[in-house]
Amino acid sequence: MITATIIMALREIRRNLMRSSLTMLGVVIGVGAVVALVSIGRGATESVTASIASMGHNMLTISPGAARRGGARTPSTPFKMEDVTAIQNDIRGLAAIAPTGSRSLMLVYGNKNWRASVTGTNEDYVRVRNYAVAYGREMSAADVRSGRAVCMLGATTKKELFGSQDAIGESIRVDKISCEVIAVLKPKGEGGMGQDQDDLVIMPLLTFQRRIAGNRDVSTIYVSVDEGRPSSLVKDQITSLMREKRRTARGAEDDFNVRDMAELMATMESTTTALTALLGAIAAVSLIVGGIGIMNIMLVSVTERTREIGTRLAIGATGKEVLMQFLVEAVMLSTLGGCIGVVLGVGGAGIASKYLNIPFVVVPEIIMVAFLFSATIGVVFGFLPARKAANLNPIEALRHE
């Protein structure tokens, strides 16, 4: 019986193809919008987390200056090498620590000029910041200790100065000094804030301090926390250690700031998740509107088919069977619409993610939910018309013109 009912419903849908497809359109758009928006949202979240992760694994950044946003930044004392040593010695659970000094400087190679961020640091920097050497040799501890005039180029910087030419072993001018290129880094792409992470020059900190900055200051310190050790705990320990070292008065604000990448990632993630939920909710409203569309058409259909319903009742259909027939028809309409919506939604998300340059994520849960929701809508909004049909008086229905 149920197969017969389903076949009957499908035939009815096909019999009025134009109307059926227009009826389905509401659900198609609703389901499509939910699936597409949630998929795109999920893709965006993933791209944000990926780019934050690319900035450094389990990383804390310690930089001078208060974390206050807006307003005038009070100039604050940079860190010293002693601070770095103190962190290294006093804080447990650090995988690596990379003190840096950094400036934006003019680079010259042959007749090419390029401005890039030049960072003096140690051999751990590459690891802490999640860089990798594409070719050449990595800056060694010996290079760092003796302050050799060597440097590693980011992918963008290399391209701007050398084009497709081999850079290893060449000398470039960095500000006033000449520096040998020993490595080119693999490209990392945009960081969490959209900056190019591949436009940089890395050299030994000592070289940077002596020959470029002319002091022994350290600006930002990058710390990589051991896997499994809560970064928030390390962050607190570093904060109190630095307050002590810098003799910050009790109750005074920190004149430096420790940023936790994990924290930043969590914030970003919760923001995008909230946005995704919001978009999904708006799309869900359109799904309900689509359901109302189905109800409308089914009500019209019941009125139109009153004589048919009368005939069926006279022939021996029970009210329940007529109810089922119309209910199944509504559910068929909505689930068919749901299927088409899922296909369009996934396809749309695929195209959109290509243009938005985010990973294409198929979210099976949301496809299931949207699909089930559309079926539910068929039941809910199909019920009223179906009950109307089932409650018709056969005598009056037969006489209906």
């Binding site: 005939t311 022939i315 029970t318 009210g319 329940k320 037969l398």
Partner: protein
């Protein structure tokens, strides 16, 4: 119970039907006593408003009497609810309507299968029975025709096949020739007579045309909700 009582298919005792209430009250049936035995072919005549349609609705278990007793196959229909009456129709009554009432854009075959679907007959058997019924009404080879591809007479034959497909005890025809010309009307009536004779199906025809009543052995005439006359042709 006597043998005679067993053979009674329709048995009405003081059946009344009242529509509306108070001043708008209409007494469509004012006490009907009618007995129809199995295998009879009976015509119900009367002008519009005479109560013949109301009588047909009650006989066809589409409606319950206001008072009095209606026994169909010795079942007291007045005590049944909508659902039980639907089941009674499904298994024992075949309907033929003036307006044919075929499903539009649906083949003759599928139209005939419809009551069998409700009787939960398996698809293969359904197809066979419908085919046989269509053959019986002389429409073999037209199984795939849709109603709009058939003439009025042919459509009414499909409707008769539909009524026959479920092997009913009673074939109830409400003005079956109302929409047909006289030649087609005669054909349809002859078909009903043939079914009554050859298959022993009890046939009740509601009509206002005396020529159609001529085809039946027994004619009951209604006027003002009462039976005016009940005549049998000498056989």
């Amino acid at each position: 119970m006597t043998d005679q009582a067993k053979r009674a298919l329709i048995h009405m005792l003081g059946v009344t039907k009242v529509y509306g209430k108070g001043e708008a009250e209409v007494r469509a049936l004012a006490g009907i006593d009618l007995r129809v035995d199995e295998g009879e072919m009976i015509a119900i005549m009367g002008q519009s408003g005479s109560g013949k349609s109301t009588c047909m609705n009650i006989v066809g278990c589409l409606d319950a009497p206001t008072s009095g007793t209606y026994l169909f196959r010795n079942v007291n229909v007045g005590e049944l609810d909508n659902n039980q009456r639907a089941l009674l129709r499904r298994h024992y009554i075949g309907f033929v309507f003036q307006g044919f009432n075929l499903l539009a854009r649906t083949s003759a075959q599928e139209n005939v299968e419809l009551p069998l679907v409700y009787r939960r007959v398996p698809a293969a058997q359904r197809r066979e029975k419908a085919k046989a019924a269509l053959q019986l009404v002389g429409l073999a080879g037209r199984e795939s025709h849709k109603p709009n591809e058939l003439s009025g007479g042919q459509q009414q034959r499909v409707a008769i096949a539909r009524a026959l497909a479920s092997d009913p005890s009673l074939l109830l025809a409400d003005e079956p020739t109302g929409n047909l010309d006289s030649a087609r009307s005669a054909e349809v009536m002859e078909l009903l007579v043939q079914l009554n004779r050859e298959r022993g199906i009890t046939v009740m025809v509601i009509t206002h045309e005396p020529e159609m009543a001529e085809f039946c052995q027994r004619t009951v005439e209604f006027r003002d909700g009462r039976i005016l006359s009940d005549t049998r042709k000498p056989s």
